[in-house]
């Protein structure tokens, strides 16, 4: 795999005060690859996901997107972030904007599209995630699953090269998890490059090209889902899997 790398992390280190949250992380995500990051809470998987578009800064190491190193704060960083969509655990839809405005805002302000053009694309995407009829509503009027699907449409509207998912289903009721996972499955089939932090092992098995297992700020395993789930190498992963797959 990884013939044509899109996201490259080299020897990335990050600290929260004395806590060494990311330790010598090396990870390459190829174009069209779906990489699922799993691990116990506090293992640094969300932080890792957030460093890729520099919502978290790093102390040392390099992160490259499509061959370009991540710039420091400023216009160049904003430009690069527009190429990487992000979906958050808590959706983070703009509370003062309607669903349609949420999806259109950055298209107009960042991509410079005309309002009609942006709204047309927004409606197409809302239709794709099954929410065309919700366009005039405010986020608070939607269910969690619907909000998350709007958030995915909002990220897709920028025509990103890759999408980052930071525990996209962790704040959802069990019933709503599937509607979000289905949208993500479809994206994976369409060849979108995705980095997904999740606890959904079913999704990891069926949609991922690779599973990255993290523990205590390190990448412990980086293998195909089949190999990882049937025959984990490390004790830490065995222990983790035995706990979550018991029920």
């Amino acid at each position: 795999m990884a013939v044509d790398p899109l996201i490259e992390l080299h020897d990335v280190n990050k600290y929260f005060g004395a806590l060494h949250v990311l330790q010598d992380i090396n990870l390459t995500v190829g174009k069209g690859e779906v990489v699922v990051i799993i691990g116990p809470s506090g293992s640094g998987k969300s932080t890792l996901c957030r460093t890729i578009n520099r919502l978290e800064t790093i102390e040392s190491g390099t992160i490259k997107l499509d061959g370009q190193p991540l710039p420091a704060e400023g216009k160049a960083l904003a430009k690069l972030r527009a190429e990487v969509g992000m979906v958050f655990q808590s959706f983070n839809l703009f509370a003062h904007k309607t669903v349609l405005q949420n999806v259109s805002l950055a298209q107009i302000k960042v991509r410079g599209r005309k309002k009609e053009e942006a709204d047309k694309r927004s409606r197409e995407l809302l239709d794709r995630v099954g929410l065309a009829s919700q366009a005039p509503k405010y986020p608070a009027q939607l269910s969690g699953g619907q909000q998350q699907r709007v958030a995915i449409a909002r990220a897709l509207a920028m025509n990103p090269k890759a999408l980052l998912f930071d525990e996209p289903t962790s704040a959802l009721d069990p019933e709503m998890i599937n509607e979000v996972l289905e949208v993500m499955q479809q994206l994976a089939r369409d060849g979108m490059t995705m980095v997904v932090v999740t606890h959904e092992m079913g999704f990891a098995r069926s949609a991922a090209n690779r599973v990255v297992f993290m523990s205590d700020g390190r990448i412990v395993e980086d293998r195909t889902p089949e190999e990882f789930f049937t025959n984990p190498r490390s004790d830490r992963a065995k222990d983790f899997l035995s706990k979550i797959l018991k029920h």
Partner: protein, 214 residues
């Protein structure tokens, strides 16, 4: 009772004076308060220091002292303006410190994820602040800003002591003319109520209009 009907023009003049002071000083306080609040959350540290000093000095100075400083101090440095303008400057600057803090607390009520989502879509710091954070902060600062402006309307009475025409000051003229002081103050109070209740009403409308479900 006939103190109002007999001296309507005196009351009207004072009333309009207070309205004028309130409107101009409010506009100044809102504009300055907005600028100072953006200074205080700016990524540039010198701007943050300036905003903090501005708020600390003005918020902790008694308003009467500030009036003395502006009305008697500034002319010594060659800046001579009508007393009414000085009064507006003093009131506006003083109140801007409170507006700034109300706005800043509003900015802090907007969840961090809103700004992160905006930045992750490629929006710049300025776009994030002006299109995502401030419009939401605005909704939660409507009540405290309303209170601050009501306080401003009442604080404008201090200007009367510096011979600026305003509502409270009318009692001097009227008591010299021998009118009952109780009824004079009653009608003055009614005048203030008209102004402050109008401000309340405006802010109630704003709150209804912009109060979007979260």
């Amino acid at each position: 009772m006939n103190v109002l009907t007999d001296n309507f023009s005196i009351f009207a003049e004072g009333f309009l004076g207070t309205v004028e002071l309130t409107v101009y000083a409010s506009a100044l306080a809102l504009a300055l308060g907005f600028v100072m609040a953006s200074f205080r959350v700016a990524p540039v540290s010198s701007l943050r220091v300036f905003g903090t000093v501005w708020v600390t000095v003005l918020r902790n100075t008694p308003l009467t002292l500030l009036f003395f400083a502006v009305l008697l101090g500034l002319p010594r440095f060659g800046l001579v303006l009508p007393f009414k303008v000085f009064a507006i400057l003093a009131l506006g600057c003083y109140t801007s410190a409170f507006i700034c803090e109300a706005l800043r607390s509003g900015i802090n009520t907007v969840p961090k994820g809103q700004g992160e989502a905006a930045r992750s879509l490629g929006m710049t710091f300025h776009q994030t602040l002006s299109m995502v954070v401030l419009p939401q902060a605005f909704r939660s600062v409507i009540p405290p800003v309303g209170s601050t402006l009501i306080a401003l309307a009442k604080n404008s009475a201090i200007a009367g002591a510096f011979s600026v025409t305003e509502l409270l000051g009318t009692y001097k003229t009227l008591s010299e003319l021998g009118y009952n002081i109780v009824w004079t103050f009653f009608w003055i109070a009614v005048g203030y109520l008209i102004i402050t209740l109008t401000i309340s009403a405006i802010f109630n409308v704003l709150e209804k209009r912009w109060g979007v479900p979260r």
